[in-house]
C-alpha cells in the first residue's frame, strides 16, 4: 500500500511536466 501511495504521488508530481513537454513540443511543431 505504501509503495503504491509513493508511486502514485510521485507520478502526480512528475508526470504533468512530462506530459506538458510533449504537448508543448506538439504545439511548437505546429507553430513551425
Amino acid at each position: 500500500f505504501d509503495e503504491l501511495i509513493v508511486e502514485t504521488t510521485t507520478k502526480r508530481k512528475q508526470w504533468p511536466k512530462k506530459i506538458l513537454m510533449h504537448a508543448i513540443q506538439t504545439m511548437k511543431a505546429e507553430q513551425e
Binding site: 507520478k11 502526480r12 504533468p16 506530459i19 504545439m27
Partner: protein
C-alpha cells in the same frame, strides 16, 4: 512574538523530548530494581552498566534520527515546506488536492500552454488577415487596371474598325457601278 519554530526545529525538539522522557522512564532506580540480585552484589558495576546502557541507547537513537534526516534530506525539505506554508498563510479555504482522476488533474496543467497557443494563433491569424487584405487590395487594383487596359484596347480596336469600314466604303465608291 517569536516566530513559530520551523519544522526542522520542531522535529528536533520533539525527538529530544521523546528521548528525555524515555531515559527518565528507564531510571536507574527502575533498572536496579529489575536487576536487584546483581545490584546487591555489585552496586557500582550496576551503575556503570546502566550508564553505558543509557548512553548507548541515546547514541543509537540519535544516530538513527540523523540517518533518517540525511536520507530524506529532511532539514532542507522541512525548511522549504515552512516557506510554502508561510506563502499560503493568507489563504483560509482548503486548497486544491488531486482528484484521483489523472485526466481531470492534467487539464489545468495544460491550460496555460493552450492559452498561449491560442493567443499565438490569434496573433498570426490577425497578421495573415492583414496581409491578405493588402494583397486583396492589389488584386482589386490589378483587376481595375486590366479592365482599363481592355477598355483602351477596345477603344483603339473600334477606332481602327471604323476606319477600315470607311475604307471599304471608299473603295466601293471607286468600283464601277
Amino acid at each position: 512574538e517569536a516566530a513559530a519554530p520551523g519544522r526542522a526545529q520542531m522535529f528536533a525538539t520533539v525527538v529530544d523530548t521523546f528521548l528525555e522522557k524515555l531515559v527518565a522512564a528507564g531510571s536507574y532506580q527502575r533498572f536496579a530494581n529489575c536487576y536487584r540480585c546483581f545490584y546487591k552484589l555489585q552496586p557500582e558495576m550496576t551503575r556503570s552498566i546502566y550508564d553505558q546502557f543509557i548512553s548507548q541507547l541515546q547514541a543509537s537513537i540519535k544516530e538513527e534520527i540523523q540517518e533518517v534526516k540525511n536520507e530524506g534530506n529532511l532539514e532542507t525539505v522541512f525548511n522549504s515546506l515552512d516557506k510554502i506554508v508561510e506563502e499560503a498563510k493568507n489563504r483560509e479555504e482548503p486548497a486544491w488536492r488531486p482528484s484521483g482522476i489523472p485526466e481531470e488533474d492534467i487539464r489545468s496543467a495544460m491550460v496555460p500552454y493552450l492559452l498561449k497557443h491560442r493567443s499565438y494563433l490569434q496573433k498570426i491569424l490577425k497578421e495573415k488577415e492583414e496581409e491578405n487584405r493588402k494583397v486583396a487590395e492589389s488584386v482589386l487594383a490589378g483587376r481595375d487596371r486590366i479592365a482599363e487596359l481592355q477598355q483602351q484596347i477596345q477603344a483603339r480596336k473600334h477606332a481602327w474598325q471604323a476606319i477600315s469600314k470607311e475604307q471599304r466604303e471608299l473603295v466601293m465608291t471607286f468600283k464601277e457601278p
